[in-house]
């Protein structure tokens, strides 16, 4: 028994015919380990530890216990009837990751990595955060297990996501503003990497998305695959079969890869990854590397990037801080190239409209990140019959975004 077969419950040998990644973390030509020499040894140590514990029954049992008793899993697969009726097509089901402890899927991964850090004897935890959800989820597990927690956050994001900054501080974390570069998520990631290089002996870096050097993309995917596994079980329970489509938003892509992974071999299930279209992909002001970028190397892996024609990473634009990232997890890059997942973008306006719709029709305030996936359901559902089922991964709740929403409507809270 290892964590992968457990994740798939043995009913879908996910890697059949598509053995990804290879031993060095390559998904096709993507992924790998593009890091400075000082990090090679700690990354190798992490690879060995993860290889060992992903097959360790006691580790898996503890992870599953924490998901049930601390995170509150399984969360529901909820039939959004009023919204489905209004759209007049496929039935829409919401995977309620927003109901997890701390309000998003991010906790799945931080629980897993914190358990690994404990086994590796690392007492100091660092993390980067964009919207603050990963920072909160990291601060939470550090409080839970008594570990020092330092969270790097772009200075611009600290302003946009003030409630989450305060949450992290309440939980005992130190939040370090990052003033370099574009002062957003990518710069926070740079700064966390720099911290790690200087403190490799006692520090564990909990990366929040399915990107970075091997084994992070695989590890973060595995810890989040509980999302897709539950979708599978709950779909069969509610409808007697697998869904016809699964939609998830993609920034770095951790909630999406977690939702998609158990379905990769189920070719009858259409998978849609929705990036942040910002002002519109055609304006250049967006955060949609899979839709409008090209392959390159950043943050330890080869993947699709937003870059200029000289190979410099360019600033991204999205109303949602959690999607405001110029790269994407390497497995998504590979899934795009092999055509298994369809990637598209939703604009700020489309995401905001979907947010309001869900609030009014279903009584759920979605995170602005998740609202990009909802926006795609608005386009997709009417094209499908009412006997079809779409699952939208509602990756987080929107309480953190109320200041952003109020500002857009010209209000101050």
């Amino acid at each position: 028994m290892n964590i992968e077969t457990r994740i798939d419950h043995g009913d879908s040998p996910v890697r059949t015919g598509t053995a990804q990644p290879d031993g060095k973390g390559h998904f096709g030509v993507y992924g790998g380990s593009f890091i400075a020499e000082t990090l090679m040894d700690p990354v190798a140590e992490l690879q060995q530890a993860y290889e060992r514990y992903r097959k360790d029954d006691e580790f898996i049992a503890e992870f599953e216990w924490e998901l049930k008793n601390f995170v509150g899993r399984p969360n529901p697969l909820y039939h959004a009837r009023r919204w489905s009726d209004e759209l007049g097509g496929a039935q829409i089901w919401l995977k309620r990751e927003d109901l997890n402890h701390t309000g998003a899927h991010k906790i799945n991964n931080t629980v897993g990595q914190a358990l690994l850090a404990r086994r590796m004897g690392k007492k100091r935890i660092i993390a980067e955060t964009g919207a603050g959800q990963h920072g909160v989820a990291t601060a939470t597990v550090c409080a839970r297990w008594g570990m020092e927690c330092i969270v790097y956050m772009g200075a611009e994001d600290i302003v946009r996501q003030a409630p989450n900054v305060f949450r992290m501080k309440l939980l005992g974390a130190t939040v370090v503003p990052v003033e370099s570069g574009s002062r957003t998520l990518k710069d926070a990631l740079n700064e966390a990497m720099r911290d790690w290089v200087g403190n490799v002996d006692d520090t564990f870096y909990i990366i929040g998305t399915a990107a970075g050097p091997h084994p992070y993309p695989t590890m973060v995917r595995d810890f989040n695959s509980v999302i897709g596994r539950e979708i599978k079980e709950q779909s069969i329970e509610h409808t007697g079969r697998l869904p016809d489509a699964v939609i998830a938003c993609v920034g770095g892509g951790s909630n999406a890869i977690g939702a998609f992974h158990p379905f990769i071999e189920d070719k009858e299930v259409a998978l849609y990854g929705i990036e942040a279209g910002g002002d519109g992909v055609e304006t250049g002001r967006h955060a949609a590397p899979l839709t409008a970028g090209r392959p390159g190397v950043l943050h330890g892996n080869r993947t699709y990037l937003m870059e200029d024609d000289a190979g410099q990473i360019i600033e991204t634009h999205s109303v949602s801080a959690g999607l405001d990232y110029p790269g994407v997890g390497p497995e998504h890059a590979w899934l795009k190239d092999i055509g298994r997942v369809t990637y598209d973008a939703a604009t700020d306006d489309e995401a905001l409209a979907a947010t309001h719709t869900l609030c009014r029709l279903e009584g759920i305030i979605p995170a602005l990140e998740s609202a990009h996936a909802l926006a795609h359901a608005v386009k997709l559902a009417p094209t499908m019959g009412s006997d079809k089922n779409i699952v939208v991964n509602l990756s987080g709740r929107g309480d953190k975004d109320i200041n952003t929403l109020a500002t857009i409507e010209g209000m101050t809270l």
Binding site: K24, G32, S33, F34, I35, A36, E37, T38, M40, D41, P42, S180, G181, K186, D187, N190, M193, R194, V197, G198, N199, V200, D201, P295, G296, V297, L298, H299, G300, L305, E307, D309, A310, G311, Q312, I313, I314
Partner: protein
Amino acid sequence: MQNAISRRRIAERFGADPSRKLLVPYITAGDPDLDTTLALMHTLVENGADIIELGIPFSDPMADGPVIQAACERALAGGTRLVDVLDVVARFRKTNDETAVVLMGYMNPLERLGYAEFAERAAAAGVDGVLTVDLPPEESAELGVELDKAGLDAVYLLSPTTPDARLTAVAERASGYVYYVSLKGVTGAAKLDTSEVASRVKHIKSLVNLPVAVGFGIRDAKSAATVAATADAVIVGSVLVAMVGEHGSDADALHAAVGGAVRSMREAMDAATGPAWDPALEA
């Protein structure tokens, strides 16, 4: 055009005078502009540089501290591109055919230009070696082939955390010299333990059959001389780049500061390791 394939300036510099420890200053190309970079390269040579490491500015320099990050931002604000960096080397070669030039940077600009085109143009410009910070040897096969074809040396990093098995594996891929990162940290960090460095360098030299250059954390003449006692070359970057940041627009002050710093390191290194010519011995 320079016949780059037949010239191995890095090996020439290390082989020229066995008693001379090489001094390898680093500056970021295009900081604050390319003309300043060109003038500074000559100043570095006049004051004792043997090899110049020229930084390719990148938007996300993950292995660099705040000083070189700021230099990258200044260079990029001025619009410096990888092809401009190659151009400044070509301009330098018009009057200097001896000093080796090693480009140091991150993968993505090279990837965007294309490895083959990059290697050909770099060799044609008179570049001697390439060090890509975020390209460990494990991922380097494709670029390595192109560098080799173009006659360019591939310089790799070794660190305090590199295990012995990796030391030898990395050295097998490397040519010119290996760059020992003297501390666990980013460029410009200030916690150099020179006795630890000395024992690591001796250990590396027992396993690796290439010159060992040491960088990260060398700030002044004293630390340069101490490191030069065991290393084959001393690399100094952030302290010089900070001077560019301070004096950028004031050419006289900039060249006085950078030239003076390099000169003092050169003199301290020569004094510590024994000068090639000592008047006392003539008497």
